[in-house]
Symmetry: D2
Subunit: 364 residues, 4 copies
C-alpha cells in the first residue's frame, strides 16, 4: 500500500470505512500559514454524502480535527495530522459480501493482493478514503492561493450521454459551480444532468460522467521533467481517485485528430508577459506550466455499487446473484468535484515548492 | 528535474539531443537475469528514426553499450548503466530558435523554469530523451516475461481522423504490429493511416493519433493503492512521454456514458481462476490488477515541429514568423509504440517487485 | 520537516509536546500479522516518563489507540494509524523561553529554520516525539520476530564516566535489562550507574551515556548498498534520536587502532552455515548483514535541560541567565533504550521486506 | 541495491571495478552553475590510487568526462552524467577468490544477498565505487561555495594508535592538509602517522584511523527533522563509505562522560549574529545547523585486504588459508579524505536546496 503522495509537500492518508477514524498527515507544509479547522471543513462539506437528493443519504458530519502542527492558528512547519471520526458504522449492511466479490469493486483484488480484506467491504477502496485527500488538499489550496493567487475550480461537464457546454473560463468560480447540486455551472445543462442522475437512481442503477478542472494563475515553470512532468503528476493524481478511468489535458483525445498547424499555440504578448493566443496545450508545454490556464478532464465510470441484481460468481467460482443493499450514490460526480480540486492542489503545491528552491538558488 | 522513475526497479535517464551521450541507469534489477546488448537493441531499433519513409530521415544508429551491472551475460543486481552516443549533432539546424520559442514546444517553459536552455533546441524535451526509457524498459520487459510470462504489445489505433478496428486481443503480437511501418496490425487500416501521415508530411505539417497498449498475463495483485494504484502509475508513465495529451484505461471516456448495470464486469470461473466475463475495467479494479488483460490508450498530439511557417512571437514579444528547418517526424505514433511498451514495462516490473515482497512475507 | 522513514515499511510520525495528540502512521506493514494495542503498549510503557526515581516525574499514561489498519486483531496491509493523546499539557512551565533560547536545545535552530516555533518549547524536538517511533517500532519488531526470529535488545552500557562490563550476548534479554530501572543488565554496574544519575539529579544537572544494541538472528543478506548499507541506515536511524551524538558498529572507533590481521573476522563453519569466528564487523560486511549478531553503540549527550542557572544570551543577543523549571530527566539513557530498539526494528523490517522481494524474484 | 542519494540534489552512482566504466548521474543540480571537467578532476586526483608511497601503486588516471547536463560550461538544470573509464582491469589477480570469501570483505554477503557476485572481486564493494561519489560531491561543493561560501575540509586525525593534535579550525585549508601525503595538517604528527602506515605496509598488513571533517560557513537552518536531521544524514552518508565503522559529531562519545552544565553551549552575540561560545554541539542543535562550524569524525577500520596469509574457510566451510595478491592500500585514510568531503557536500547541498524552498515560500 502506498498511501503517501508528494516530495516536499507530502501527504499520507489513513483509514478504512469502518475503523475508528480516517485522516491524513501533511508533512512539509510551509510554516507561518494561517490555518484552522474551518479552512479545511469547507471542502469536506462539499465532499460529504447526504448533501442533496443526488447523493447517498448517509449523513456523515465528517468534522475534522487538527491534532498537530499548528499553534495559535499558524502552521509550525511540522506535520499537520488531521482526523475525521467514523461515526456511521454499519458493517451489517455488507454481510452478503463475505462470499461474493462485488462486480467491478475491489473485493476480489484486495483479497488477491493482501490475502485479507476489510470484512465490511470497501475498506481503503471506499469513497470514504478521499476524506484525507480533501482535507490535505484544502491546506495546499490555501497555500497556493495566498502565495501565488492560484485558483482551482472543477465542475461536472457531462453525465451519461449529456454534455454541458463549456463555461466562461474567465468568470467561473465555486459559487457558480455550487449553484446547482449537480455542480454544473450551466443552469440549463445542470437540470438535464440532474435528470440523468435521478433516472439512474430510480432504476437502481448508476451513471458515469466527466469532471473538468481549471487551475488559474499558475506561475510558469512548475513541473519536473522528465518523469514528473506536470501533466504526468496530474494524471497520476487523478487516476488515483476511485472510479476514474481517464485523463486528458488541453486538446486531449480530440487533439489527436488535428494537424500541427492547427494545434500549435502561437505565442503573443499579453498581460505584460509572453503568453499564447490559444491553449490546446492546456497550460503545459514540455511538462512545465507556461502561465496559461491549466485545463484537464477526468472520466469517472458509473459507480460499481448498484441496487439492481447482478449475475456474477462467488469467490469459489459458483454462479450467483449479487444485489447491493445500503445507501449508495447513483452518481459520484458531484461529490468528486472537491476531490479533483484537492488532488490538483496537492500536485501544484508540491511542484511550486520544488521550483521555489530552484528559483532561489540559481542565477538568472 | 526529476529524471528517476520507480521505487524498487528504478530508472534514471540522462542526456540532451546534442551532448556526448544519452542513456540510463537501472538500479534494482533482479540479479541473475540473462542480459546482453541485443536484448536492449531490438527495442531501440524499433524506436530509432530513419526506419521508413514515415519517420524523420535522420539516421541514428543508436547502438547501446552496457557500461556496468552485468558479467558473463548475467545481471549482478547492481546498477546497469546504459549509454547511447549522440553521433548526429547538427546544432546549426536550430539557430533560428535562439530568439524565437517554437510554438507548442518546450523552449519557452524550459527558459522560464531553468533560466537557461540547450541552445540547440529540444535538449531534454527532445524525443531523443526517450532512448533511455526504451533501453531500460527492454530490461524490465525481459524480467516480466521470464518471471511471469507478461507480454506487452502496443500499436497505432488511429491517426488523425482515421480509426483502425480493434485487433483480436488473443492473437495480437509484435510481428503483426510491425508488419506495417505505421505499426497498425490491421493491414487495411494501416494503409489508410499511412496515407494520413504522408498527406500531413507532404503539407509540411504533422498529425496526431492514438496508441493502444495491451499487457497480457499480468498476475492479479499488482498496484499499490491508494496513491500508486496501477492505473495511476500507468497514467503517470504515459503522460510523461513527449507529446502525450491523454490516457484512458478499459472503458475510459466512453465508459462515462454507460450505466453501472452495463459497465460492471461480472465474475466468472475461467481458466482455473476467478475472472470476469467482460473487461470494461481494463484489467484493474480498485487500483490492483485482477488477472485480466490490461488495456489502455494514449493520445498523442500532432508533433509541434512542422515545416510550415507559423505566426508567433519572439521572447521579447515581437510578432514574427517561425519555420522549422531540419528533419522531423510528420507523425510520432509509429515510433511511440516501443516507448509506450517500455513505460508500461517499467511500471509493471516495479509493481511486481513490491508485490513479490508482500507475497513472501505475509501469511495467506 | 521530514517525518517519514523507510521505503516499504514506512513510518510517518506527528505531534508536538502540547498539541492534542502525537502518533504515527505505518504504511507497508505486511497483512495478516496479529496485532492489537497491547503489542504496542508494552514498549510505550518502557519509554514513558515517571517509571522510576531516575526519570522525570511527569506521569504520562501514554495509552495508544489503533485508529485504522487492523480488523479482528489482524493487519489489513493498509496504513496503521496510531494515536497517543497529550494529557499533561503545562505550557506555563515554559514561559521563560519566549525570549531566551535554551542552551543546546532546539529553540534557536527551529526559529532560524521555520521562522516560528512551538511557544511551549520543545515541540517536535521534544522527547515526546519519540512516542510515534516506539509505537511503530513495536509493530516492526513483532513482524521481525514472527517472520525471522529476530530479537533486538538494547541496554545502558555507560553513564558518565562509569562503564558497565559487556553482558553475555548469548543470554541477554529484556527481562535482564529491565531488572534494574537504569536498564543495565549487570547488577553491580547498574548500581554504580544509578548513583551517577542520582548525583547529577541532586546537582540540578544531567549526565550522558552510551546505549548498546544487539540484533540477534538477523538473516544474512539485509542492507542495500551502496547508499543504504545496513550500517548507514542504522547510523541514520540512531542519529535521528534526540540527544544522540555518535554511532559505532562492531569494533567502531576502537577498531581504528587495530591492524587488519587482528581485525579481519575469519570464516568458519558453524551452526550449519558459514559464519565468522569473531565479530569485529558487528554482523555487517560490505553493508550487508552476514548472519552474525549485529552490535552497535550510540552516544547520548547529557540532556540539555537542567535546573541549574546557565549564563547565556537571549534572542536579541543580550546576556542573561537561564534556569529551566519543570520536570526533566537527569539522564535520558534508561528511557532511550526502547527508542533505540524501535529504530533498529524499523530499519531491519524495511531492509527485510526489500530483500524478500529480491529473494522471490531472482534465480539462485 | 540502492545507488541513489538525496531528495532534490540527487546522485546515482554506477559501476564495478572491472566493467567498462564507473560514474554517476547528478539530477537536481541548480542551473546556470559554471562547471567543467576540471572542477571535478581536482577531487578525483586527490582520491585516485598511486599518489604516493602510502597508497596502492595501481596507476589509474581516472579522467572524468561530462556526458550530459552542461552546455558552454554552464549547467542546464538537467541530469549531469559523469563517466570514468576503467582502464586497469586485471581480473587475474583475483582468481583465488572464486572459492574463498575474503575475510571481512563483501564476497560472502554479496553472494548471500544477490546469489551472484562480480567474479573479479570487489565489484560495487570496491573502493573504486567511491569515484562516482567524489565526482558528484565536487559539483555539490562548487554549488555550496558559490551560493553560501561553505567550505568543507577533512583530514586524517589518527592512524592506528597515534593521534594528531587538533588543527586551528579558523585557518585550516586543503593546502595545509595536502602538504603531507598522509593528509594530516600537523607536520610533526603527519610524520608519525606515515610511519604507522609504512610499518603496516612492510608487515603486509593494514591499519585503521580516523578522519575529521569541518564544514565552515554553513548557514543556520539546514537539516530536516525528525528523521532527516542534519547529523542523521551525515551519519548515513559517512557510514555508507567503505570501511567506515563509526561517526561522532561535536562532543561525540567523549561528550557522554560530561554533565549538562559543562556540555551545554551558551549563546553569545558574535559576528553580528547569535552564536555559541563553545561548540560541543558540533554546529547542529535539534537536527538543524546553528551557524557554527560543523565538526564530525569518522572511524575507518584497517583495510580488509592484506598480503599476509589468513586462516579462514571457503564457501563450502572447509578450512583454508587466504592470501591476497595484487596491489592494495595499507591504509585507506589519506584517500578517504576527499570521499568524506564529497559525502558531506552531497548532504549539505540537498539540505540547502530544501531549506531554500522553505525560506522562499513562508512568511517571516
Amino acid at each position: 500500500m502506498s498511501s503517501s503522495f508528494g516530495t516536499i509537500f507530502k501527504v499520507t492518508t489513513f483509514g478504512e470505512s469502518h475503523c475508528p477514524a480516517v485522516g491524513a498527515v501533511i508533512d512539509g507544509c510551509p510554516p507561518n500559514l494561517q490555518l484552522d479547522e474551518n479552512d479545511i471543513q469547507v471542502q469536506l462539506d462539499r465532499r460529504r454524502p447526504g448533501q442533496s437528493e443526488l447523493t447517498t443519504k448517509r449523513d456523515e458530519a465528517d468534522q475534522v480535527a487538527i491534532l498537530s502542527g499548528t499553534e495559535r492558528g499558524l502552521t509550525l512547519g511540522t506535520p499537520i495530522a488531521l482526523r475525521v471520526e467514523n461515526r456511521d458504522q454499519r458493517p451489517g449492511d455488507y454481510k452478503e459480501m463475505a462470499d461474493v466479490p462485488r462486480p467491478s469493486h475491489a473485493d476480489f483484488t484486495y483479497q488477491a493482493k493482501y490475502g485479507i480484506r476489510a470484512s465490511s467491504g470497501g475498506g481503503r477502496s471506499s469513497a470514504r478514503e478521499t476524506i484525507g485527500r480533501v482535507a490535505a488538499g484544502a491546506i495546499a489550496e490555501k497555500f497556493l492561493l495566498e502565495q501565488y493567487g492560484v485558483e482551482i475550480i472543477a465542475w461536472v461537464s457531462s453525465v451519461g450521454t449529456v454534455d454541458a457546454p463549456d463555461p466562461d473560463l474567465t468568470t467561473i468560480n465555486r459559487s457558480l459551480v455550487d449553484a446547482s447540486d449537480v455542480r454544473c455551472p450551466d443552469q440549463t445543462a445542470a437540470e438535464q444532468l440532474r435528470r440523468e442522475i435521478i433516472a439512474a437512481r430510480d432504476a437502481d442503477d448508476s451513471i458515469g460522467g466527466v469532471v473538468t478542472c481549471l487551475c488559474r494563475n499558475v506561475p510558469a515553470g512548475l513541473g519536473e521533467p522528465i518523469f514528473d512532468k506536470l501533466e504526468a503528476q496530474l494524471a497520476h493524481a487523478m487516476l488515483s481517485i476511485p472510479a476514474s478511468k481517464g485523463f486528458e489535458i488541453g486538446s486531449g483525445f480530440a487533439g489527436t485528430r488535428m494537424r500541427g498547424s492547427e494545434h500549435n499555440d502561437p505565442f503573443v504578448w499579453k498581460d505584460g508577459r509572453l503568453g499564447t493566443s490559444r491553449n490546446f496545450s492546456g497550460g503545459i508545454q514540455g511538462g512545465i506550466s507556461n502561465g496559461e490556464d491549466i485545463l484537464f478532464r477526468i472520466a469517472f465510470k458509473p459507480a460499481a455499487t448498484i441496487g439492481q441484481a447482478q449475475k456474477t460468481a462467488d469467490f469459489a467460482g459458483n454462479e450467483t446473484e449479487f444485489k447491493a443493499r445500503g445507501r449508495h450514490d447513483p452518481c459520484i460526480l458531484p461529490r468528486a468535484v472537491p476531490v479533483v480540486e484537492s488532488m490538483a492542489a496537492l500536485v501544484l503545491a508540491d511542484m511550486a515548492l520544488i521550483q521555489a528552491s530552484r528559483n532561489a538558488t540559481s542565477r538568472r
